[in-house]
């Protein structure tokens, strides 16, 4: 990370920032260390290879359908009566969320590095189904690890992943347990490529995932300039591991006049309620017992943002005051879902509705020429059962 930019980190050992407060690093077993160094080197080489980057761009356009639209949410804007609201429509990507851009990048990288099989973890199943789709396209076997609680609630994604040919490994729990199990699977198969689903885990994953997802922010810059003649005043995204958030804001990290807000699930708000710790490969804010022996955190309806920890770059950005982090409750998430479905005709995933809950609070008191952009990073198909269960009667 150079002195003058928040965009250039982390350092070669995976640290964001320096000294005691540095976040990130590589806290994994020896078996994986050589593999991660190899991956880092493969990554460094790949991103200097224009033909590789072109290939990524090509598939972003043709397979994923990028760029996703930047959409003026006119009804919502009028309803809230404050700021002008834009949605970055990441849910229109193939496989229905932002996750696939990262899956695509890492699978292309794995192929370039001659890997023959893939592993991934998943919370909401979006990363699993996205990686499974890309794995099918590039003809590589994939094992996805998920918690049984998540498997039950986002079953559609699991069915799709199986149709794409992926195998599912179930563990008791949710995303946290899936990540630990995925690392174990990776340790047992270090010749496989582990396709990490967010800007979490040991270096070099946070940087790789950030690199892949930061296309979101670059698109926003171009689209906002073209459509609005200016940049947004505020960027809001939900934050589980933090990949859709960093993807959105990375491009703008050195522009302090643009306010950036990440919204965690209230039950697992690592950045609001956590303390620094080292678990699952990284030093970062997290919810854990004082003695570091146990991860903590309740359960959120947003499976993809129910994570006790968070990507280390976010911990760094929090400490530096570059990004503001807030949280949203299940109730707020459901209310935001209802509002956006009925005003804009968009059935959103629950995760980005955490961002929308914050958006609603922010937009109200802003002038009409204040521009807020929300990252609408997934569709609600996977969540329909959950939504019906909780607020189905509201729609009758």
């Amino acid at each position: 990370m150079t002195k003058n930019s928040y965009k250039t980190g982390p350092d070669e050992l995976g640290y964001f920032g320096s000294g005691e407060s540095a976040m990130g690093g590589m806290a994994v077993g020896e078996t994986l260390m050589p593999v991660l160094h190899e991956l880092n080197q493969g990554f460094e080489e790949a991103i200097k290879d224009q033909s590789f980057l072109d290939e990524f761009d090509y598939h972003c356009k043709h397979y994923i359908g990028r760029p996703s639209p930047l959409y003026y949410a006119e009804n919502l804007t009028k309803k809230l009566g404050g700021a002008k609201i834009l949605f970055k429509r990441e849910h229109l990507n193939h496989t229905l969320s932002h996750k696939v851009t990262n899956s695509l990048f890492q699978v292309l990288l794995a192929k370039r590095m001659k890997k023959r099989a893939l592993i991934c973890e998943s919370g909401a199943g979006q990363h699993f189904s996205a990686t499974a789709a890309v794995a099918a396209k590039f003809d590589m076997p994939l094992t996805g690890v998920m918690g049984d609680i998540d498997i039950a609630r986002v079953n559609q994604n699991i069915i799709k992943a199986k149709h794409y040919g992926a195998e599912l490994k179930s563990v008791p729990g949710t995303l946290k347990e899936a990540i630990t199990e995925a690392i174990k699977t990776f340790s047992s198969n270090p010749d496989y490529a582990y396709i990490c689903g967010s800007v979490v885990s040991s270096a070099p994953y946070p940087r790789i995932v950030q690199f892949a997802q930061s296309v979101i922010g670059r698109e926003i810059r171009e689209q906002s300039m073209e459509q609005e003649g200016r940049l947004p005043d505020m960027l809001i995204a939900c934050c589980g591991g933090g990949s859709n958030l960093i993807g959105m804001i990375h491009e703008f990290l050195d522009e302090p006049e643009i306010i950036k807000i990440g919204v965690e699930a209230a039950e697992t708000a690592a950045l609001s309620n956590g303390t620094p710790g080292i678990m699952q490969g990284m030093k970062t804010y997290m919810l854990q017992t004082d003695d570091g022996s146990k991860s903590l955190g309740g359960s959120s309806l947003g499976a993809g943002i129910q994570y006790f920890s968070v990507g280390p770059q976010h911990s760094f950005l929090r400490d530096q005051g570059i990004v503001k982090y807030t949280s949203a409750t299940d109730k707020e998430i459901l209310e935001a879902y209802k509002l956006i479905a009925s005003t804009e005709g968009i059935c959103s995933a629950l995760e980005p509705m955490a961002g929308a809950a914050e958006l609603i609070k922010q937009a109200k008191n802003k002038p009409k020429d204040y521009l807020i952009c929300l990252n609408l990073c997934g569709t609600g198909e996977k969540d329909l059962n959950t939504i019906q269960e909780h607020i189905g009667k509201d729609f009758e």
């Binding site: 640290y15 590589m26 077993g29 078996t31 004082d290 003695d291 991860s295």
Partner: protein, 267 residues
């Protein structure tokens, strides 16, 4: 560098030391101590005393179940350091290595941790997820060195020669040679692989080498002892026996016998 560990490896017999892993405080602090006493009485040279964390990433199903058991009972690193003290009170010669993850040490925090374990009589620490790339590993290693204790380093099948050089350069006490890629208690290593690996390490250093992962029986231990290593590490096999016989009144005695069956074959 721990003097006690040095002394253990300079002793001629047994030629191959038995290093045995126990989950600290499993199933209870009291029984855990009794089990470890049996291990000492039956010829174990070095004890690895595991402390627990919920996100342990190198444990197979057997040890994970024991970890969860201890976590649920609420025993933490302090309890385990107390256990170490009790062990040391019982025996002055056995090597004691605290083994676990960086999560707990970071929160302890590290400086206090080293002070406390030194007082308790531990000789070394092995942190599974603290490679030398990690800042906290550096801090911990420094503090241990300053206090005459060792940080046990690991070498894995994936570790290339260049990296191995770096590791043996900082290794202390002994080198934990992880003989298969994976989690504890699942895969078994082949004798040839281990022999070759030990040779590869021996070319670079004279530090004692202990080989571990997947050694399930005295026969496995015997085979591995022919590889040129200085010690064999047995973990899941003992934990599994304990797990399967939790309610057996003769548990501690039988664990003693089980350990004896390993030390018997290791000259």
């Amino acid at each position: 560098m721990s003097d006690r560990l040095k002394k253990i490896f300079t002793e001629k017999l047994p030629k191959t030391k038995l290093v045995s892993y126990f989950v600290g405080c499993y199933p209870t602090p009291e029984i855990s101590l009794e089990l470890i006493k049996q291990a000492i009485d039956n010829g174990v040279s070095i004890l690895e005393v595991g402390y627990v964390t919920s996100e342990a990433s190198a444990e197979g199903p057997i040890i994970k179940a024991a970890h969860d058991y201890v976590l649920n009972k609420g025993h933490n690193l302090n309890d385990i350091i107390k256990l170490v003290k009790n062990i040391r009170d019982y025996n002055q010669d056995v090597g004691i290595v605290l083994m676990g993850y960086i999560a707990n040490l970071y929160k302890y925090p590290i400086s206090n941790f080293v002070d406390d374990i030194k007082v308790s009589g531990a000789d070394a620490v092995l942190v599974v997820d603290a490679p030398h790339e990690l800042k906290e590993e550096n801090q911990l290693r420094d503090a241990l060195n300053k206090n005459g204790l060792s940080l046990i380093k690991l070498a894995a099948p994936t570790t290339d020669d260049k990296r191995l050089k770096d590791i043996v350069n900082i290794a202390s006490g002994f080198l934990y040679q992880v003989n298969v890629s994976g989690v504890t208690g699942v895969k078994s290593a082949s004798e040839t692989d281990v022999t070759n690996f030990v040779k590869r390490i021996r070319n670079l250093t004279n530090i004692p080498i202990c080989t571990g992962f997947g050694i399930k029986s005295p026969e496995d231990a015997k085979k591995m002892s022919n590889s040129g290593c200085n010690g064999v590490i047995v973990g899941s096999a003992f934990v599994k026996y304990i797990q399967d016989n939790l309610n057996d009144k003769l548990l501690t005695q039988n664990v003693g016998k089980l350990i004896k069956s390993f030390t018997n074959v290791l000259e």
